[in-house]
Subunit: 440 residues, 2 copies
């Protein structure tokens, strides 16, 4: 015992030093700005809830991963492992105060004791958005549109959204006489992008006869374009139905809004989760399709069934933030930076600390984030420190910071402009891109 | 068993429906914008840590309140109960990657199993900011300045910041021959604002003789102004010392920066916590002094002593968000709103859902947040729904949403302007205050 405790953190958990945290927040802020433009509103729920609420009637795989314990008051509690279950509980609890259709987003941390060898984290941020209380194609379409514009707004480049309809698939399976094997079939088909068609065929042969397995493989094969695929699955599922008309309407909306080229009708998309009943979708970055879907979701008929007798249906999606951040880093568009400020005021004389803060105040009033150096080290050391922190410019104040002429050092070019008035310095800086805090 | 689980939440925990969450975020966003203008950078740390890290060498009151349990891997873990201890651990772990002086903020949830009868929450947000690695008066002053400008920037009105120096107080107590009773005296003095002078005198009489108790009561009495109080405590603590010169320099900075009138030198401010060694401060809203300090802190010499052999000193403060939110609600300046959007596009014909989204896109491109109504209910019902959500305007599209003239309904005045082009409608809305999302 040296008396020193090793400052370690738990496996699967992370510190976010400034550069990583600024990157993460900058992404979250752009996502939120996009959601807000659509009139979506944020909610938050407790990190800790009754285990009974989060786990419902038992939960297999999930249950093993949940951080669950007995609190000081003897309550059986758990940390939330997703934002879907707390949202269902929230809807059941607050339905009388909310206005429907209710469009909400929720960006928050969740915890799962996952196997970290698979590159998973035990603490990570989820980003969910849903429209609840409207069953029409217009809400399905709004979620799809918001996915597309949000992924564009954050600079992830072009994306393609693969859409399918679980209801049409279910009709097809019933018609095929394979409704009893639906769960197995959906799971096999859901993994086809990873396993490949041959492996899927083998697995299907384990639950269906050869002819039926062939029919499923034929059904999930996309045709030449959205319309032909829609015609094909409509026919295969027994012709014109409410579900096929719903899908057709979404397709019309896509065309009317001029964004149809971003969507593929892909009957192999099923999403593993049981609660999806309508359309389901996954989205892939054109520049990095191999990393898998960065935003996925679907329509559900009855989200809050565990907590409420009234069915609450909706449609929503979730953005995989960690995946998106590493994608954007691979693409070189993450905009990593160690500071929101680009400007520092050098400290020439520690006695002038008050005046230097007043000088900095003029820049801050103009929306120019400005760090004040606190110690009168050699100027060269101050330039190095500023550069290390990610700043681009340093003001060197004169003897009287508020009245003497200023010098402005460009840290990249190592040039210094001398004899500037405050207004001239502000003008120099304002002409530089990315200068105002709002641009950061 | 009805099969329905009651959607209850744990005592002391809260849901944040949109209106409460928008209020909370709007406050946090303004605080962050202010921090960023000073070049402060955000960090984040895990919610869950080794209990040994969070509780150090045992912790009395705190320890009883901590959510602590054994995880799936048999580790003794706990939820963080503040942001100071994780910051100390973070500094010890990352000191070689960071540039000092290091100016960071951390806004995040913490958990304490407090007695909720005292109006406390068991999950609440802390907002800490610190400058680490610089011992000069310039960093103390920067924290004080940032407190003042941040409280002004969020619309909390005028505030007065009470400052004191624990080092000067300690010198006074040594000189008085009462250093051995320092902890008791600091605790008694710390509560004087609540208990009153008479009760404090009684309590002091329990630990000091009458003359010494009288000297303490005399010491903590503010004089006519900052300078006189400083002269008084300097003399009482033995004359000119590094600590009194440090305080004098801060006072000079306040004057040079033109903000001296916001500060009171108040020798009765001690802050209960053991780790403070230099200046300490509390801040009070001029309009609501009775709610107590909304932002407090001080300087510490050795924050990470448990995890590192090298001393890490700094100065910082913490904003009491919950207290500030309720203060701002009392003052009627919280700006409560149920939506970031002010505009909706009415749904006249569900077939036109795609075209209406395209129409909404034109407003969104201009930075005008715009919600699209999803169901073709009666217009009156749509107006009511929009108003309930906190919107101010509704666009009623014509037969062809993208080419027919538009109508614009003002929900407050119940007036509708007809026959507008898209540009005219944007012009009408842009003239309205608070319309762009950035203003929200």
């Amino acid at each position: 015992m040296t008396g020193i405790i090793e400052p370690r953190i738990l496996k699967g958990f992370r510190d976010f030093p400034p550069e990583a945290e600024i990157t993460r927040r900058s992404l979250v802020e752009r996502i939120e700005a996009s959601f807000r433009l659509y009139g979506f509103v944020p909610i938050d729920t407790p990190a800790l809830e009754y285990a009974e609420i989060l786990l419902g009637k038992g939960g297999g795989e999930t249950e093993k991963q949940v951080y669950r314990f007995t609190d000081q008051g003897g309550r059986d509690v758990a940390l939330r492992f997703d934002l879907t279950v707390p949202f269902a509980r929230f809807l059941a609890a607050h339905r009388n105060e909310l206005s429907f259709p209710f469009k909400r987003y929720h960006i928050a941390k969740v915890w799962r004791g996952e196997n970290t060898q698979r590159g998973r984290y035990r603490e990570f941020t989820q980003c969910d958005f849903d429209i609840v209380g409207s069953g029409g194609a217009a809400s399905d379409f709004e979620i799809l549109l918001m996915m597309k514009t949000t992924l564009a707004a954050i600079g992830a480049g072009d994306c393609t959204i693969h859409v399918n309809h679980r209801g049409i698939f279910n009709r097809f399976l019933s018609r095929l006489g394979a409704a009893g094997q639906a769960t197995d079939i959906l799971r096999i088909v859901d993994k086809i992008a990873k396993t490949g068609r041959e492996e899927a065929a083998l697995q299907l042969a384990g639950v269906l006869d050869e002819k039926k397995a062939g029919a499923v493989l034929d059904y999930i094969e996309p045709r030449a374009n959205f319309e032909e695929t829609l015609a094909h699955i409509t026919e295969a599922s027994g012709g014109d139905t409410p579900e096929s008309r719903h899908m057709e309407r979404i397709w019309r909306y896509m065309n009317d809004a001029g964004i149809a080229s971003s969507f593929i009708l892909d009957p192999s998309i099923t999403r593993g989760l049981d609660y999806y009943t309508g359309i389901v979708y996954e989205s892939f970055l054109a520049a990095l399709p191999s990393i898998g879907s960065v935003c996925s979701g679907g329509r559900y008929d009855n989200l809050a069934g565990l907590y409420s007798k009234e069915a609450i249906g909706g449609v929503g999606a979730s953005i995989g933030l960690d995946r998106l951040i590493s994608a954007m880093e691979s693409l070189g568009v993450s905009g990593r930076s160690g500071s929101y400020a680009k400007l520092a005021i050098a400290c020439v004389d520690e006695e002038a600390g008050g005046a230097c803060q007043k000088l900095a105040g003029y820049f801050r009033e103009k929306g120019i984030a400005c760090e004040v150096m606190l110690e009168a080290k050699k100027l060269g050391q101050q330039f190095m420190l500023a550069e290390k922190k990610g700043l681009a410019w340093v003001i060197i104040p004169g003897e009287k910071p508020l009245s003497s002429p200023l010098s402005l050092r460009n840290l990249a070019s190592r040039e210094t402009k001398e004899n500037l008035s405050l207004d001239q310095a502000i003008l120099e800086l304002s002409g530089t891109s990315g200068f105002r805090t709002e641009d950061a």
